[in-house]
Symmetry: C2
DNA sequence: TAGTATACCGCAAATTGATGTAATATTGTA
DNA sequence: TACAATATTACATCAATTTGCGGTATACTA
């Protein structure tokens, strides 16, 4: 790490004035940090972003006007290199994954302690991805496979290829087996999952994390 | 949080004796922790697991015999409730995602400081998912969508449905549009991505994180 | 011995990909 | 605010391919 010559500049978008001011105070009084803007909506922030160019933005999800998730891509377009940390009470699957897919680099819940917020800002600038414990678990769970899949290894492999849109002929070629064998595998997969089409097989398998 | 009446039991699987003993020492000397086993391979550990039943296992990836990733599902089968933390030098995409999909609850790199390891063990038992900064960024990056997709919102939606194996008719029904419109969207998607089949469209779109 | 992986046959129905045209809606920018 | 570029919607035709269902059967493996 190099010594920080210029302060880390932070902007805050949060509609609750109490919370907004409390974050401002916290960050402004931390060594090496500077608050360059605190806004109660995206619309208000957007007017000033191009002048202030913060390093990091703390972004709430619930906002008047367009919400934090929808604001994410717009902010990224204005300031492509800015690191955005979501700071919210929402900890449900959908909000978390929407935020991450729209370009958030971290996700903290509002019970996060002051010093952890400061740590998170540093971490995100060092290439990390700070997350609250519950969010991290959500994210990791999304990768976990069901260990009790009824599908055999080969069947799983075939179904994964089906879910990539490949035809039976193509799957056969890529796995170096006969197309008839692929047909048999698919037949058996359908039976095991109790479905009668590609789409339903993929749906069931994804819902149960078989693929 | 409740007061911890019984110590947290930890097992270690790590082939390097220096590292293994250093972790043992660290954990054994932390308040509220007990090391109930330290092994240099999965095979050795498996013989004792059913007797010792640890709460948490620290697992290395590079091991003699079967490696840590392959050991994961076997451990989970023996001890379904154990929390497994990967502790390794590997920080590449494949190893991380394999570990997570096979059931690891956390992933730390070996430069993790002593007190962070202790923190991580506590965190994983509280339902968190401790990750090193670089790993967290890898994981989060895997969710990020490309903000410069050539596909329109509707086209993206259609292609996502195609990648779920749905037929054009079904997509049309679910999006409340005519099947002919779906055909047009697909035609335009193929043109934009310069492909000529479902499979190639999905491949290109996934590689570029358009879907 | 049950399950897995492989392969073959036949058939009707459905899907796909290519190539056109074109009206209306929305959006970004000048 | 008006204009141009996209986006979204819809229709028509066609041959080739794919899909799902019904069987059967052999060799390997845990």
């Amino acid at each position: 790490m190099q010594i920080q010559h210029t302060p880390i500049t932070v902007a805050i978008i949060e509609d609750d004035s109490m919370i907004r001011e409390s974050y401002s105070y916290l960050i402004a009084n931390s060594d090496g940090f500077e608050v360059v803007g605190a806004y109660k909506s995206y619309e208000e922030a957007a007017k000033n972003f191009l002048n202030i160019r913060p390093d990091v933005i703390l972004l709430d999800v619930e906002l008047p006007g367009i919400n934090g998730i929808e604001a994410l891509p717009k902010i990224k377009k204005l300031l492509p290199t800015v690191q955005i940390l979501i700071l919210t009470v929402y900890e449900n699957n959908e909000t978390v994954f929407d935020a991450l897919s729209q370009g958030a680099s971290g996700y903290l819940t509002k019970n996060t302690s002051s010093n952890k917020i400061i740590e998170a800002i540093k971490e995100v600038l060092e290439g990390g991805a700070p997350m609250s414990a519950g969010v991290a678990r959500l994210v990791i769970n999304s990768f976990q496979r069901n260990q009790n899949s009824p599908l055999s290894k080969r069947e799983t492999e075939v179904l994964e290829n089906v879910s990539l849109g490949k035809s039976r002929r193509r799957i056969a070629d890529e796995l170096f087996i006969d197309m008839e064998t692929v047909k048999t595998h698919i037949k058996n997969i359908y039976q095991k999952l109790d479905v009668h089409s590609k789409a339903d097989a993929i749906k069931t398998a994804k819902e149960n994390k078989f693929i």
